[in-house]
Amino acid sequence: MSATEEKTTCYHCGLDCDSTKIAVGEKIFCCNGCKMVFELLEANDLCQYYDLDRTPGTTPPEQGTETKFGYLDDSSIQQQLLHLSDGSTATVVFHIPNLHCSACIWLLESLYKIEPGVLHSRVNFLRKTVSITFDRDQVSLRKVVELLTSIGYEPRISLENIQQETDRKTRQSLYLKIGLAGFGFANIMLLSLPEYFAGPGKIPSEFTKFFGFLNILLALPVFFYSGWDYLRSAWYSLKSRSVNMDVPIAIGIITLFSRSIFEIVSRHGPGWLDSFSGLVFLLLLGRLFQEKTYQTLSFERDYKSYFPISVLRISGEKEESVPLSRLGIGDRILIRNNEIVPADSVLIRGAGRIDYSFVTGESETVAKVSGDLIFAGGRQQGSAIELEVVKDVSQSYLTQLWNSDAFKKQGGTRITTLANQISKYFTAVVIGIASFAGLYWLVVNPNYALNAFTAVLIIACPCALALATPFTLGNVLRVFGRNRLFMKNTTAVEQLSRIDTILLDKTGTLTDTKKINATFVPVLNKRPLSRDELRLIKTVVRHSTHPLSRKIYASIGQEVYDGVLKRFEEFPGEGIEAEVSGHTVRIGSARFAGGDGDETTDSGSTVHIAVDGELKGYFRMNIQYRAGYEQLLKQLGKRYDLLLVSGDNDRERKVLEPFFAGEKALFFNQTPFDKLELVKSLQRAGRRVMMVGDGLNDAGALKQSDVGITISEDVNSFSPACDGILDAGGFSLLPRFLRYSSHSMHIIRASFVISFLYNAIGLGFAVQGILSPLISAILMPLSSISVVVFTTAATNFVAGKLGLKGYYGFKTNNS
């Protein structure tokens, strides 16, 4: 539709080309990069790309890529990236952030037409990955990456793909187990039906024998493959002297299986193999439901995936790209605009303007001059700078955080799920009843004793009980997902319901770093800026890359910029001087603009404006809190102990104090280590802590806390290791999420009651020694289904009550 509009848009990427127009035939491109991609595709007969979707392309990066991927020639890097090297062919999986439409799929899967060295490429659209198999004799890894970059699909290369590989394997084996169990269940049920319909003893013995034999055959893989995990987990649990939910399940499974085999072999009866395989099948289904994973998200990232893989090293006249692992103390490195400083270094040349917001929580960029120390993790804003490395990457100020023991322990030892708590008593009670029934019959009628004993164990097998948690929490997980909170797993959801203390970060969590707005404050006794002056300023800041300039630009609004820029000069650390439409405009520090600095009483950062040598006033940068933060803090404060931990200074103390319980609940100027220690000390005092943060400086606290939630503007971008990623849009829903998680625990308790009721009915039959396979075949699925229906209905109902979007279908919601 945009094609019919008067504005010309780029044939390749669809951006407006008002400033530059490059025409090739009838097609118009916005930049040389786009044109080159088109020409490359045209030369290779791949113009179908443009038929599949309108303006499918993305603008390829302009800056020189010659040296950028040099590190890919390094064999140690290659070893980590290449999946399997069979002879000269190798496979590599890249994450492509730009992958967005069907044309992208088509082009990426047609790579072999451009580069014959590529044998095969395959896209996974949901994960935004492309798996490329190529011939190493014909084309190098670096060439492949450069090709992708040159057509606008620059891969995001990181060395953290191993985790996904194991996830894939366990998921695959779960499918296999479910398939086998389902197959066994259906066929055994089919072969058991004649017996149930005809009644015991009515079927010719030759059939009973045949059916029994087939049933055993079908049940063997269900027991030894599909159900094996439960047996193993129960064994490990007993070995560590605890009783988890799998113990009563394992007891039930073993009793069911062995008694059935015994009955069939000794021709006592048809056995319970249908109940047995149905039980395993349903349990596995519960597990599948529980293991909802967000394929595109990663909850285990550390600083390595935030940092670049390589950096430009300057040795003499030469610039070469080296992997970070080979960066040593004393190396000279070059950091360009928007690149991250990978190790603590000293500035040698250039104007450093470092954005530490992600690392320390400071909201403003810091100016650095040569000789200053720059901590790793800062992002350079502006022109390129040259640095000398003074510390190893892993020993830098920030990265040391990952050496603390919070990152060493595997999994949480503090976690005991509700189900596991209950199963201890449950197992004891069940074994108690079974023994009692067995003893009773031993006295009254010894023939029934073993029957009654095993029947109790069979019917008490907590299938419904075991399904209550995964189905409830699985539903909660999905409801959260629909409302843009992505939790790592169901254990994290359960943990969420138990917290009593909430720690909040300020910068990037309560505030929106991208939306800092600027308001103009005129010099005393002067009028606000006129429309013409605003135009002048807007024209100037439009040409500056300084983050504050951009904020001023954004705050001026929809005024038309008609100024003609004649001269533009940027003084690093001071400001900009420019000539627009015959006026000289100075924008920058108070001294630079011609004031003496006295007119600012604001403690925040300010940008002063002078037009034709006359100081007009200054722009004040207001920190923008996220929408609804007051409401959020009030609601959370009622139920939980709220604490604020910020790496920033205490300028905002006055604004925030009313929401917290006094001065002591606000912590400012906290280092990443302080935050981690604070969480630890709270936990030592018996608190269950939730940390809500966003940056690398929160990484320690996020990891240490019982539940760590990361707030992110874009859930697919980097976020430190945590238990849940919350989309910034869902920020104000946080109190509801917490309430919902505690309601979900009530739902689990209620469904425990339901399953106990069924158990009681079954036990009624069992202790009398009259539990027939038929009753068990009806009772077991019935109890499981009631629990599943109840939890699904209840979780959706409560979600609706709380004003959260319910979960009704099986559609994934993160695509």
């Binding site: 179908q48 996974n124 659209f125 998921r171 499918y175 296999l176 398939g179 197959f183 045949f210």
Partner: protein, 64 residues
């Protein structure tokens, strides 16, 4: 009677055939990506040898 036993055995073998197909499908990764194939089926000229493709492609780009 024997006919029934024969039939049940035969049907079980058919069922096992489906089971094996399912196991193969899982092993070959068909359940890992359930989204992309839906696009892929609509795209022309995939997975074919380069040479054969040339002529066909010509027709395609002229056609649309």
């Amino acid at each position: 009677m024997n006919a029934l036993i024969l039939l049940i055995t035969a049907s079980l073998f058919v069922a096992i055939g489906f089971l094996i197909t399912f196991l193969w499908a899982v092993k070959s990764g068909q359940f890992e990506d359930t989204h992309t194939p839906a696009f892929r089926i609509l795209l022309d000229g995939n997975g074919k040898p380069v040479d054969k493709n040339k002529e066909q492609k010509q027709g395609n780009s002229n056609g649309r």
